[in-house]
Symmetry: C2
Subunit: 396 residues, 2 copies
Amino acid sequence: MNLQFSHRISSLQPSAIREILKVTQDPSVISFAAGNPSPETFPVADMSKIAEDIFTNHSATALQYGVSEGYAPLRELTFNRIKTKYGIGKDFDDLIITSGGQQAIELATKLLVNEGDTILCESPSFVGSLNAFRSYKANLVGVPMDRDGMDMNALEEALKTQPNVKLIYTIPTFQNPSGCTLSIERRRRMLELAEQYDVLILEDNPYFELRYSGEYVPPIKSMDENGRVIYAGSYSKVLSPGIRVGFACAHRNIISKMTVCKQVSDVHTNLFFQMLCAKYLETCDIDAHIETIRKLYSHRMNVMTDAMDAGFAGRATYIKPDGGLFIWCTLPEGSNGMDFCRICGNMKVAAVPGASFSVDESEIVPTFRLNFSLADDDTIRRGIALMSQALDEYLK
Amino acid sequence: MNLQFSHRISSLQPSAIREILKVTQDPSVISFAAGNPSPETFPVADMSKIAEDIFTNHSATALQYGVSEGYAPLRELTFNRIKTKYGIGKDFDDLIITSGGQQAIELATKLLVNEGDTILCESPSFVGSLNAFRSYKANLVGVPMDRDGMDMNALEEALKTQPNVKLIYTIPTFQNPSGCTLSIERRRRMLELAEQYDVLILEDNPYFELRYSGEYVPPIKSMDENGRVIYAGSYSKVLSPGIRVGFACAHRNIISKMTVCKQVSDVHTNLFFQMLCAKYLETCDIDAHIETIRKLYSHRMNVMTDAMDAGFAGRATYIKPDGGLFIWCTLPEGSNGMDFCRICGNMKVAAVPGASFSVDESEIVPTFRLNFSLADDDTIRRGIALMSQALDEYLK
């Protein structure tokens, strides 16, 4: 049989990185590769109690079909929370519950991007989103960034020169993979440029509430007076990723069309856990819960950077982020992060090579990404010690 | 702001039918419009017990990220069950867990269908799938059907004459909306034609296990020796639709690419309920459970057809199905099901006009669809009485 996939998908290849990451299936390997939250941060007791109540009193609703835009109380509680706390959402905005933040990205792409349209994104950027864009054959253009996020001059140049730009995709806060945060001045400038060149901004902000240091920087969406920004949020990093509950907040004209797309995609998000999240927001203190997550991850980040300072001894540099889940490391000039990560794998410690976050995955870059949220202190120290040996090996 | 949606989506309009179905939001309206299972059939006690066990003993796994192809034990249990009971799945086949059967349809379309490619489907067919096809700008061509399902001569003619046919989409068993079942001879012939014209069959079989009368007809997938058939199944009608757990079984080359598509769509299906379903399959008797569902729905179908025989008195005819959730009714020649359903709405009873299942929604057809699984006996009788009055009104 001659099996022909669609053009959009046949170009979507499993990457070389998957091979390297296969080592993480070996339980004896210490993995800093994933972006998993720590299970200690799942509010299991509260969730279990709420689940029991739903099974006892609301099962006929929770197990039945729901509406595609999401469980009304969860939409309302989520909207109220981001509006009150962070100034997100104007009168023209609406909110849809999605199956994780990833689905918000995918639906927005399906809704807005024709084959060949350009999406401008940070370089490097999150591979899950890049692949969603690729799966609709978008023309992906990476914009260079520094410690303060995407370079606005380079962004303007790209807006001027690239054909049919539809979206600026940004993870402005504790970016994945770089850990960098877009400065407030640049956020304002990005909005101005979006207005000037008549494009939309897709603001992907899953790590936003995990700040460990530095000053609060408001979401771009909170400055959006004209419905230019589609905001993607998630309960994955503050409650649980396995439940797949996220959301998008955008102009109601966009949300209503995203709802049509969601209906044909999965009808609606698991209703039981939408109800559970709503009840959690209503009856528990999510802000206090997030505070405990912040403390844990901030501590783990420090354990990791202390270990890196001792073991890497400047041979690999890194940017210490103000929050999020990741540390972005750079090997000496001319290095290949892919080769280094392969050596790490052999030494039973896993990191993600920087190339997997490149618009062009075959690019040779001297970077790699470490996650610090999942492993405990001792495992972090042992892993970084192994990685320091891998560094000896790679640089010898 | 000049908001431009993608070509694929701008053609996807909210239909006129949505207006008619708005009456169902009024709680005083008796609705035969939805396709909802009865909440009485949700195995709440078993699910609740399993959920408690998962929270107590497996929360670190259940609330964490999972793999895109689905929770391994659920994949295995599902595959074993459909293989053992129904002969589905050869050595070359694999299985992916999807967020409901709908996602299996959407992923298969994204994976296989280029803009303008043809999908052949029964006319009428399920609007959720038709909209998924439309959302990728497929060329939708309806093939006429009768009591034995899709007309094979008409199918061959379409295969000969339509450009770039990629898929034959069929709901072979207790079809939505017609209730008809594709005969075994036609199933064999459909497979032959798929081989001859080198196209794939997308077999959507969510109602398959809800048979109330007539002889068992094996799934097309069970006759598939060459990986021609993508089989979409669902736990929505036998456990709960709100949990959004379905699956696709197809050649491993297709499943591996669907997994890439799923990864960019929602990463994975709610892991907690994947684990819950696995444990349910392992420790409970799903076949006995399905037997109780069959008894309940068979009874309700008879209550409805008895009431129709008395109230409609031949003025609207129907085909009594051997299973499933729906009865397909036909008004006298020249009637417009849309007008009739509007009158029904005014009389506080809701049905879905046949046009919503047409490839061309503006088509004037004398049909409407009734659901019998949700309402209790008394409500069914009162609803059909109201509908009989609507018939008086419409035909006067």
